[in-house]
Assembly symmetry: C2
């Protein structure tokens, strides 16, 4: 997929994932999103990590670092504020999708 249209929806995708899953770590999000979208949505790590940090800075996400073997994973989950915001953004996205769909299906006036 030409992911130009993907722009602007990354935060909402992350919030959606964390709304469904209680907690996830960054790399896991990229893999799950790819899988769930049949490869259509390909989140670049260079976009993901700054996005997670942004959302955390806004108080929407809470983190907990855990050692898995010799490696550290940083788990993210929605804060109460993030929980509310995720629902808002999911609704707004659905509304947007409907509007854009109607628009793209418009027939010429004559």
């Amino acid at each position: 997929m030409n992911n130009k249209m993907f722009r602007g929806s990354l935060d909402t995708i992350i919030l959606k994932m964390l709304n469904n899953n209680t907690e996830m770590y960054g790399y896991e999000i990229t893999q799950e999103v790819k899988k769930l979208s049949d490869g259509a949505f390909d989140i670049k790590e260079g976009a993901l990590y700054p996005a997670l940090h942004r959302l955390e800075a806004k108080g929407l996400l809470e983190t907990e670092s855990r050692s898995i073997g010799n490696r550290i994973r940083k788990y993210y989950k929605l804060s109460p504020k993030g929980n509310k915001e995720s629902k808002t953004q999911i609704s707004e996205m659905q509304e947007f999708l409907q509007q854009m769909n109607a628009f793209m299906n418009l027939k010429p006036a004559r």
Copy 2:
């Protein structure tokens, strides 16, 4: 509408309008899009004109300036290349909308 999600879709919207209408001038596009979307899509002129110039530079649009009274309007229409590209982008957008819609409707695993 929070038009954050609007990002990345302006070019496609313009191409869609010109696919439906043979020819339009810039200001007309902003007004028609607003009307057709019930106010949901609000194209800023600061985004529109650079976008039109970009699309023209890519060879997707052709222009013709016409005097209307003492004022000049710049009419845009799809070039043959733009005609093809518009159909491509409309299809890609529709595919994207479907994917994103499915994604936003995913239920938690358990």
